[in-house]
């Protein structure tokens, strides 16, 4: 009567989730191993180099440092995902915010801690402002946020270039500097470990904690998640869908605004088209997917990506193109979403089967 049960059938849901993520990462490493092999490189040597260099003290600190923008960007994307919104515009939002915040910080003078706090608040406000355009277009004109944020990414770049070239570039050196004016020491965030790990890492951890608190532990978060899961049902129970869209998008943009702040207030003390790192908006999508929008998952996934990134310089020295690190990251995301899809289908079937079995035997959970 009872169907055949294997070990996996008895595992609790979180363990299955964890296992499936592990399987996805291993699968990705295998696929990239084949790629390395086909292109005439030794995959085992490459992976050994990654592990040996990555697990030294300095590299672990670098991993933490590199995980800072990824955690922030992933939280920004994840808050959208929880509301069933796809914010592809984190890239445009954080770059715009970085320019505005850097310019703001260089123009004001304030006591040390306050200076930084004000800068971060301006960065969040600028990110939220840019995200609000997409939110407004969605609720007033029904434009899908995927398309509008893609377009806004490009518009953001050109608006920034215009602002930077005409108004915000520091030309006190006769045009040699290609950044904004340097932020005064009171607005700079000190390192935790000198030259290795910046204080912004703690800020990022705090933001992830807030993400958890807001989305998973507040009344607002409950409404947000129920709108994301089933907007019709949520609306029926009195949750205003449009309001949730606006608030989720604003929160997402506000977090996105902080993504480049480690660079702006912790490293370069200015914004510059070359100095400020790009691409974190898209990397954040990858990290959020790998971390399954869960705060702990995001932190772990960001550290994994940071770990891989930290080894890329050494990899290049040992004769393996360092772009393989980025290829591994992209393949990880593909395998993770595929495995996620398969797992959730399996879990649904398992729940259905177990419910059916329980109903037949009159013993729930047998």
């Amino acid at each position: 009567m009872t169907s055949k049960r294997n070990v996996i059938d008895t595992l609790p849901r979180p363990v299955v989730t964890l296992l499936s993520s592990l399987v996805a990462v291993l699968l990705a490493l295998a696929i990239c191993g084949v790629l390395l092999l086909v292109t005439g490189k030794d995959p085992l040597a490459a992976y050994r180099t990654i592990l040996e260099t990555g697990l030294t003290g300095n590299k672990l600190l670098e991993m933490l440092k590199r995980s800072t923008p990824l955690m922030l960007s992933a939280s920004a994307v994840a808050i959208g995902f929880k509301m069933n919104l796809f914010n592809i515009g984190v890239e445009g939002q954080y770059l715009f915010a970085a320019l505005i915040a850097a310019e703001f910080a260089s123009r004001i003078s304030a006591p040390p801690v306050l200076h930084v706090l004000l800068t971060l608040m301006v960065a969040s406000a600028a990110g939220a402002f840019w995200a609000s355009i997409a939110a407004m277009l969605k609720i007033t004109r029904g434009i899908n946020e995927v398309i509008s944020t893609i377009m806004l990414n490009f518009i953001s770049l050109s608006v920034m270039q215009w602002l930077f070239d005409n108004y915000m570039r520091d030309d006190s050196d006769g045009g040699l500097r290609v950044t904004t004016t340097e932020i005064a020491p009171s607005g700079q965030v000190p390192d935790i470990v000198d030259g290795r790990l910046n204080g912004m890492w703690l800020v990022a951890l705090f933001v992830v904690f807030c993400y958890w608190l807001i989305v998973f532990r507040s009344k607002f978060g409950f409404r947000l998640r129920s709108s994301g899961l089933n907007s019709t049902a949520a609306q029926t129970s009195g949750i205003a869908a449009n309001r949730m869209i606006v608030v989720a998008m604003l929160l997402s943009g506000a977090i996105a605004g902080l993504v480049a702040m480690q660079s702006v207030v912790g490293e370069e003390y200015a914004y510059g088209p070359q100095a400020t790192p790009t691409g974190f908006g898209f990397a954040g999508i990858a990290v959020a997917l790998l971390g399954r929008n869960h705060p702990i998952g995001i932190v772990v996934a960001a550290m994994l990506f940071g770990f891989l990134d930290s080894t890329s310089a050494v990899l290049q020295l040992s004769g393996i193109p360092n772009s393989i690190v980025k290829v591994i990251q992209a393949v990880v995301v593909i395998t993770v979403v595929i495995v996620n899809e398969a797992t959730s289908r399996y879990m649904n079937r398992r729940t259905a089967e177990q419910t059916a079995a329980a109903l037949r035997t009159d013993k729930v959970g047998a």
Binding site: S158, N166, I285, V337, E341, A342
Partner: protein, 413 residues
């Protein structure tokens, strides 16, 4: 005011040309309708056009394609590599194959494994960007003129030609007269502008461009005039109904995405083989996304995509050939808007009248007040235009009904 179809077509074509002619005579700026500008516009339109077609094929079969940019990147790399190794024609074939590889990855993820279509597209863009960097490192580093971000230059190019009689092409060694160029140089009202536009479209044509433009009638014919096209569109409109009638939705979606990838790859090949003579990192410069915009702009129809791609290509062409002439475009917009105001008054459409009058005033003010428009802002024109179209005309846009919604065989109850 009702016009017959043919008269309306005439108005749609003749009135803008006449307006441009007026603008040219008024401002003394020849560049708007010169054959140089139009030729450059054509070359710049084709990659956007093909990217738009790639989007159209994917969405018509029911799969969103955010990954056009990535497929184009594969196209530029494989095209650049193939053309460097084996010559330009083989290079174009490699570009198509490279793009199809991207399409296949997207198809396996979304059609086979039902991964979210937007996520798959985004990841494909990342994979393509870094994947070709990895391959460049292996294939191009250490070669003369090559490096991690570019390929060695190609030694031969796709042949170019002029159309005989109209634009002075050769027929069996006989140099035919160049009628259009002759007319263009006269500077007559309307006639010379029309001749300039036609001359730009008929001389110094690359075969690669011609094949690219042929994708429009080919797409229209296949998707709207053949059996397989009807089935493909039906799997984007209503896969459940299609399957009930015995259509293999899964197979058609694979097919649609392979064609989509091939077109995007060809668009990339044009960039690395026809528009330049080597592969360079970042060569696509967001054209995949402009293609996506063009598809929306063109209401998921081939002729609409052609219109959108021409518009965006023209804006780029004017910027490239005659950046100074950009401000005269505002004069053109102002005049066009005045005409629309007149039309709105005749039709007693108050809202449209007010909106177009507003546009006319803004454009006229911009023309008179601003000498040169910052290039950094004109770059975002296509993206801005797309948002405006979506915001104002979204009621009239009709995307395929089921594009973006995963489909599993036999799960329709």
């Amino acid at each position: 005011m009702k016009l017959t179809g043919r008269a309306r077509l005439l108005v749609f074509f003749a009135v803008p040309v006449a307006l441009m002619s007026i603008v040219r005579l008024w401002s003394g700026e020849d560049a708007l309708t010169s054959s140089d500008t139009i030729g450059a516009s054509l070359r710049l339109s084709v990659p956007i056009l093909l990217a738009g077609m790639a989007g159209l094929w994917a969405e018509r079969c029911g799969v969103l394609n955010i990954g056009i940019e990535g497929m184009m990147i594969f196209g530029t790399w494989f095209g650049g590599w193939g053309a460097w190794q084996f010559g330009p024609w083989v290079g174009l074939m490699f570009a198509v194959v490279g793009g199809m590889l991207g399409g296949l990855i997207h198809a396996v993820a979304t059609v086979r494994f039902n991964v979210d279509q937007i996520i798959s597209g985004v990841v494909l863009n990342l994979l393509a960007f870094f994947g070709v960097r990895y391959m460049s490192d292996l294939a191009f580093v250490g070669q003369p003129g090559g490096g991690v971000s570019q390929s060695p230059p190609q030694t031969s190019a796709i042949p170019r030609f002029d159309i005989p009689v109209l634009s002075g092409g050769e027929v069996f060694g006989w140099k035919s007269p160049n009628i259009l160029l002759n007319l263009e140089e006269r500077g007559w009202f309307f006639v010379s502008d029309l001749a300039g536009i036609l001359h730009g479209l008929t001389h110094n044509l690359s075969w690669g461009t011609v094949i690219g433009v042929a994708a429009v009638p080919a797409t229209f014919w296949i998707l709207w005039r053949t059996r397989i096209g009807l089935r493909l569109r039906s799997s984007g409109e209503s896969p459940v109904a299609a399957e009930t009638l015995g259509v293999n939705v899964i197979r058609l979606r694979y097919l649609g995405l392979l064609v989509s990838g091939g077109l995007a790859g060809y668009a990339g090949g044009i960039l690395s083989i026809v528009a330049s003579s080597y592969y360079r990192q970042g060569q696509t410069a967001g054209r995949g996304y402009i293609g996506l915009a063009t598809m929306i702009f063109g209401n998921w129809r081939p002729v609409g995509v052609l219109g959108g791609a021409s518009l965006f290509g023209y804006a780029e062409g004017v910027k490239l050939v005659a950046n100074d002439a950009i401000s005269t475009l505002f004069l053109f917009v102002a005049l066009a808007a005045v005409l629309l105001v007149v039309a709105a008054v005749v039709n007693r459409n108050t809202t449209r009248g007010i909106v177009t009058a507003f546009v006319a005033v803004i454009a006229a003010y911009t023309y008179l007040a601003i000498d040169d428009v910052p290039e950094s802002l004109t770059q975002s024109l296509p993206y801005f235009a797309t948002l405006v179209v979506l915001a104002t005309a979204s009621q009239r846009l009709r995307p395929p009904a089921m594009a973006g919604i995963p489909y599993r065989r036999g799960e329709s109850h």
